[in-house]
């Protein structure tokens, strides 16, 4: 994926179990992360 797409991805907001928002890029700002996108909670 190109850098523009990655930056757009990083700006997306995800929610934790309490509904608190987290900007995706905050997860990989200081460390390497393995993001596993699952199909569904089931």
């Amino acid at each position: 994926m190109d850098n523009q797409a990655l930056q757009k991805l990083g700006r997306q907001i995800v929610l934790d179990e309490k509904g608190n928002p987290e900007m995706l890029s905050a997860l990989w700002k200081d460390k390497r992360v393995v993001l596993v996108f699952i199909r569904h909670f089931g």
Partner: protein, 134 residues
């Protein structure tokens, strides 16, 4: 059941990811109220977020459609998950959406991307661990 099995498999390798200074983060797409029951069902203690808008899945180009969930290999993966005790108890999220894996960081550097082609299509954990090697 396939997602549950996938998370349980990754859970077993949590320490291996830590040894590589990498953090495992699971992203789902159902309502956030299903995060806690999903974590409890899998014994997963790591971070788990949800993107009900599916915007992240779209940006990453993950597949969506009927052909990705029907056919022999999704059926085989389903039977494998079921036979090892991962009983699906209802789907929370769009059933036609596929997922994938992204290894990224620190900073905006992508090390690995895997887009699942069908239900039950996941990259080998060893392959992901290799992408975590510094």
């Amino acid at each position: 059941m396939i997602s549950r099995r996938q998370v349980a498999d990754l859970n077993k390798n949590m320490k291996a990811f830590k040894r590589k200074n990498s953090q495992l983060v699971v992203i789902g797409n159902g309502p956030e109220k299903f995060i806690t029951p999903f974590k409890e069902a899998n014994g997963y203690k790591g971070p788990l977020f949800t993107d009900p808008s599916l915007a992240t899945y779209k940006i990453l180009g993950f597949k969506k459609g009927l052909t990705s969930v029907i056919g022999f290999s999704p059926l085989k993966a389903g039977i494998r998950a079921l036979s090892t005790g991962y009983l699906q108890k209802g789907i929370q999220g769009p059933p036609l959406q596929q997922g994938g894996v992204l290894v990224v960081g620190p900073g905006n550097i992508v090390h690995y991307i895997y887009r699942s082609q069908k239900a039950g299509d996941h990259p080998p954990v060893e392959e992901i661990l290799q992408a975590c090697a510094v």
